[in-house]
């Protein structure tokens, strides 16, 4: 072996803990790996490409006339709703793919490397923000094509888009948790859908809350998705940042604070 003996790999400093800086760097490397994988298998972007297009068309024309009398009048209500629903649904795929990825031998190597335990997870989740961005841009573009002209202006729409992406990233920790503890990828899909369906539909995403029975209204009001949708509407349609914006971000932080450690622990225990 004519390997030089003086590369940094041989100057090991034996430590039992990773520093924060190292953890962040390793997570970014894992995210880079995720991006490369997306680049190699673009077909896995199928869902984030077509779902926004089809959902926007479907919901706008199915509900538009019935609820607001006209499609154009419905757009400011529905586009933020669809945006939140579509992008959050996309985050399920994160859990499913994590499960598939973890079943492969390469994860054994990641586990055997002296890297932060959170890096493979955080990296995968970080790379998936690309998917959310694609879904966000496509939904907004579809809205624009259908005639949606948000009054909040471009800058507020961008803030709204970032808010949705951040919240979806936070939600994806929940699905990542299922991804880590589930036995098969399809069961991850099943459980996640079961949680997400009531969350996204029993909200103010698609229909005015007033039309629902009281007990359902109560749920709609506590549902974090409703707050997110309201925050997006306020930003995009009025250019205002209100309490719902803060509630959404706090909610996202709480989800990450609970599910990131849970997921990492489950990830370490698996095996």
């Amino acid at each position: 072996m004519n390997r030089p003996l003086s590369t940094s790999g041989s100057q090991l400093q034996l430590k039992n803990r990773m520093s924060l800086g190292q953890s962040v760097r390793q997570s970014l490397t894992m995210a880079y790996r995720g991006l490369l994988k997306i680049k190699r298998t673009p077909e896995q972007l199928f869902d984030v490409t077509f779902q926004p297009i089809i959902f926007t068309l479907m919901f706008t024309y199915i509900f538009g006339g019935a609820i607001s009398g006209s499609v154009k009048g419905y757009l400011p209500i529905i586009i933020p709703g669809i945006l939140v629903q579509t992008v959050i649904t996309t985050s399920i795929v994160t859990g499913v793919q994590l499960r598939e990825d973890m079943d492969k031998g390469v994860f054994d190597r990641f586990r055997s490397l002296p890297i932060a335990r959170i890096a493979p997870l955080a990296g995968a989740l970080l790379a998936d923000t690309v998917r959310y961005t694609i879904a966000t841009v496509l939904t907004l573009a579809m809205g624009y094509i259908l005639g949606y002209r948000p009054d909040g202006g471009f800058d507020h729409v961008v803030i709204a888009a970032i808010l949705v992406i951040v919240c979806s990233w936070a939600m994806s920790w929940i699905f990542a948790f299922f991804g880590v503890i589930a036995r098969t990828a399809s069961s991850v899909q099943g459980i996640s859908m079961l949680i997400l369906f009531p969350l996204t539909f029993v909200s103010n995403s698609f229909v005015p809350v007033k039309t629902m029975p009281d007990w359902l209204q109560w749920f709609v009001h506590v549902n974090p998705i409703s707050h997110l949708v309201t925050a997006v509407r306020q930003l995009a349609n009025h250019g205002t940042i209100g309490s719902d914006f803060a509630i959404s971000l706090i909610g996202a932080a709480i989800i990450v604070a609970i599910f990131a450690p849970l997921t990492v622990r489950a990830y370490m225990r698996r095996t």
Binding site: T7, G9, N16, L36, G105, T271
Partner: protein, 339 residues
């Protein structure tokens, strides 16, 4: 030797010290009290049939699985309490490809290098260096999907060497390789040890352990049933062994009893081949045995005397053939006293 001394506590003799390792899956004691001592700078072979617990043992030593009992130290560091330190001292090449299928060889190595703390440039340099060394430069950019089994195996090994770890685990490094590629892999492993690394490898190929390993542990059903140098193991079986094939399959059991009575050793029958194998402790008795067989009317189809191979060692110690299913051999004696 340089790098080993730098990354390992000074003068630490033992790369691996495992005491009573246990791993239980459900009610299956996959590893059932394994003890291993591996001296730094040597090649250690773990030999055993399918399902013996080789992979499970390696996974516990490599911090991938938490032991249910016992303890293990890598260069003096506990695999459970100091897992992150242990990970800095080892490289693992798993039984199944532990590289990323969708990425190219170059990308794989760069990512692992970056994770290990190399800078962008350094990572590329290290990756090219390893690709060159393992003869993969030409295929560096191709996705692994189109790699042959041998190329994949080499890349896998290359990925374990990025940090130049003082201890390398190789789980069945040559399974599925053609004889030429296998010989190349053997050379690579030998060179690794020359640079000061310690290697623990598992194998089902007895000649592989014989060729490569300084010491060998034979494990079966989660237990170490024999340990020593290849020569010691062979010596424990007797100098040579006698192989007999009877013409009439019906006679095989009677013949076995005669062999055991006459040679005063345990004989092993492999029914598929209709073959009886027994160690020859005293060559003089073989003549008596042949006469007795003739007198009993048992006709032989073939007779040969063989120098012991590790195959025989295995057969003798475990009491069942390598290919034997564990269940089929459940009647076999414990075999430990054969040592």
């Amino acid at each position: 030797m340089d790098r080993v001394l730098r990354s390992v506590p000074d003068g630490y003799d033992w790369a691996i010290e495992a005491r009573g390792l246990v791993k239980i899956f459900g009610d299956n004691r996959a590893v059932d009290g394994v003890n291993l001592n591996v001296r730094a700078g040597t090649i250690y072979g773990v030999l055993g049939p399918n399902g013996a617990g080789k992979t499970t043992t390696i996974k516990m030593l490599a911090t991938l699985l938490r032991p249910d009992g016992g303890s293990a130290r890598i260069f003096g560091h506990d695999v459970v309490k100091e897992a992150q330190i242990v990970r800095q001292l080892i490289g693992v090449t798993g039984q199944y490809a532990s590289v990323d299928e969708t990425l190219s060889a170059m990308e794989n190595l760069v990512i692992f290098s970056r994770l290990l703390g190399l800078g962008r440039k350094e990572a590329r340099r290290k990756a090219s260096e390893l690709l060159e060394e393992f003869g993969l430069t030409e295929a560096a950019k191709r996705p692994l999907k189109h790699f042959s089994g041998g190329m994949r195996r080499r890349l896998d090994l290359a990925a374990s060497l990025i940090a130049q770890p003082p201890l390398i685990f190789l789980d069945e490094p040559t399974t599925g390789l053609d004889p030429r590629t296998r010989a190349q892999m053997w050379d690579t492993i030998r060179r690794l040890v020359k640079t000061g690394s310690t290697v623990l490898l598992t194998t089902q190929y007895l000649d592989e352990a014989d060729q490569l390993a300084d010491r060998i542990a034979v494990i079966d059903r989660g237990r170490v049933i024999a340990e020593g140098t290849a020569d010691e193991l062979k010596a424990s079986v007797g100098t040579s062994s006698l192989q007999l094939r009877v013409q009439n399959q019906g006679d095989i059991e009677t013949a076995r009893q005669m062999v055991e009575r006459m040679l005063k050793v345990r004989a092993i029958v492999s029914p598929e081949a209709g073959k009886i194998t027994a160690p020859i402790a005293d060559a003089d008795r073989v003549a008596d045995l042949l006469i007795t067989l003739r007198e009993a009317g048992i006709r032989l189809a073939e007779m040969s005397v063989q120098k012991p191979t590790l195959d025989e060692v295995f057969l003798t110690i475990t009491g069942h053939g390598v290919e034997d299913d564990a269940k089929k051999a459940s009647h076999a004696p414990d075999g430990v006293e054969a040592m």
